[in-house]
Amino acid sequence: MTVILNQSFTGVSIGAVLLLIALGLTLTFGQMGVINMAHGEFIMAGAYTTYVLQKPIENAGISLLLALPVAFLVAGSMGALLEWLLIRRLYARPLDTLLVTWGVSLMLQQLARDVFGAPNVQTTAPDLLTGSVSVAGVTLANSRLFILGFALLCVCGLAAILRVTPLGRRIRAVVQNRDLAEVSGIATGRVDRTTFFIGSGLAGMAGVALTLIGPIGPTTGTNYIVDAFLVVVVGGIGRLRGAVITAFVLGLLQSVLEYSTTVSVAKVVVLVGIVAFLQWRPQGLYTVRTRSLV
């Protein structure tokens, strides 16, 4: 029983990490349809932001809390710049976008190597997050609990922005019908950039959270990018709810399979499962139903 609970918690925390890294993609890929291969490097940028901030600020707790908004701004600005420089010229050309952003991703990795060195670096976790608590025989690592809580907070925040604020409505409006949004007087170019800023900023915050579970390096983001795209695709493109469910289901599957087999076998089984699922439901978990004539 304890084993099951322990593995479940591991699964949930893997899911939380997946969710956190995929959340930004639900905006840039899910809503806008841009395949941004440099998304992983925004995660990496967020992680290094934590590392840089720890140099002058000794208190790991304060620097971590400070790193969250700073990483959001750093990665968000990088995203907005990328959108303005390159991506906006490539809308409706997905293959070109993929290649260009992949190139940008390689350049950013090299930049990180030049600035911070090729070896991975380790950040210090705040004391509060290094321990663990035991509940009913299950060991819950504080850092994992923090990531879980943070991921849920980000989901709620993003959902609130998309649902209730006029900005979120505009983002959805531009996604649903660009021409109509424009002739209604919405500056769609600005909305695109704002959407990209928020999506990339979320990647930056995910990067901060990743420093709690391991060392970080120039390829930190790349390791996660495929998983992040998978979560968005399986969840149903543009559906926040789908991404949340998918992230946790994949996390749980992964941890259960890892326990009964090995890490690599688990990875393979999950991937095969995803392929089979998408054969059966190419549109993902959730789709939008309308009576559209178009």
Binding site: A173, I186, T188, T194, T290
Partner: protein, 261 residues
């Protein structure tokens, strides 16, 4: 009468591949007019509206309220007070009726207010819900509305934008006879304080509600005037209505067809 007038001079639109859809159109639409644009399929009516709203690139001159607007970004032109609808009823399908109207009403709002949740909707939204008869459906997603209701919502979205000129692309296509009647009355009411331009294939509808008519053919203005003048024009009869149209033109009128492009 109010609303702004539109003056178009030597407007030309050529698509990639060399097709000239609009070929030197001159058009004077006076403030408060209820102008119908008619013409066979491919005459360039929709492209003309696309050019005026900035969705396609055009050369020539388009003056609205005394200012040149050609080449301006689409949303700027919209904020000047030119609103349009599309051939297939086009609304934000996943947003509610009310949210559709709210977006249109607040399109020019500054970035600072965009993160604040608002308690009250602008008055114009309530008014538009009433005029278009959609008040009871305000919380429905627009995607589930019937076709005619979507078309009413489109017009409502233009009203809350506080437009001065409405360009309506086949606003009554697919409507029943009764729906057409009430839509026509709505147009007349709107045209009391707006300038309205309607692209329409339904000749009966045009005869009942048009104040003036322009006939387009092959990217050029073929004829212009009142309904009676246009109908009496031999050139129009030849290219559009067909020779055998007199004495009862409606008999020879083509069935409303959806126009491509």
């Amino acid at each position: 009468m109010s609303g702004e007038g539109l003056t178009v001079r030597d407007l030309r639109v050529t698509f990639d591949g060399g097709v000239t859809a609009v070929d030197g159109v001159d058009l004077d639409i006076h403030p408060g007019d209820l102008r119908f644009l008619i013409g066979p399929n491919g005459a360039g009516k929709t492209t003309l509206v696309d050019a005026v709203t900035g969705l396609v690139r055009a050369s020539g001159s388009i003056r609205f309220g005394g200012e040149e607007i050609i080449g301006e970004p689409v949303h700027r032109i919209a904020r000047r007070g030119i609103g349009r609808t599309f051939q297939t009823a086009t609304v934000f399908e996943q947003l509610t009726v009310e949210q559709n109207l709210d977006i249109a009403a607040g399109a020019g709002r500054s970035a600072l207010t965009l993160l604040r949740r608002r308690r009250h909707l602008p008055d114009s939204v309530g008014k538009a819900l009433e005029i278009t008869g959609l008040a009871a459906l305000r919380h429905r997603p627009a995607g589930v509305l019937a076709h005619g209701q979507k078309q009413s919502l489109e017009i409502g979205m233009l009203l809350v934008q506080d437009v001065k000129l409405l360009l309506l692309d086949e606003p009554v296509a697919g409507m029943s006879h009764d729906e057409r009647e009430s839509a026509g009355e709505l147009l007349q009411r709107i045209s009391e304080d707006h300038t309205v331009v309607v692209i329409e294939h339904d000749m009966d509808f045009m005869r009942s509600f048009a104040r003036s008519v322009s006939v387009l053919h092959a990217g050029k203005v073929l004829s212009e005037g009142t309904v009676a003048q246009v109908q009496a024009d031999a050139k129009v009869q030849e290219v559009y209505l067909g020779r055998a149209s007199e004495p009862e033109p409606s008999a020879a009128v083509p069935v409303p067809v959806r126009e491509e492009v």
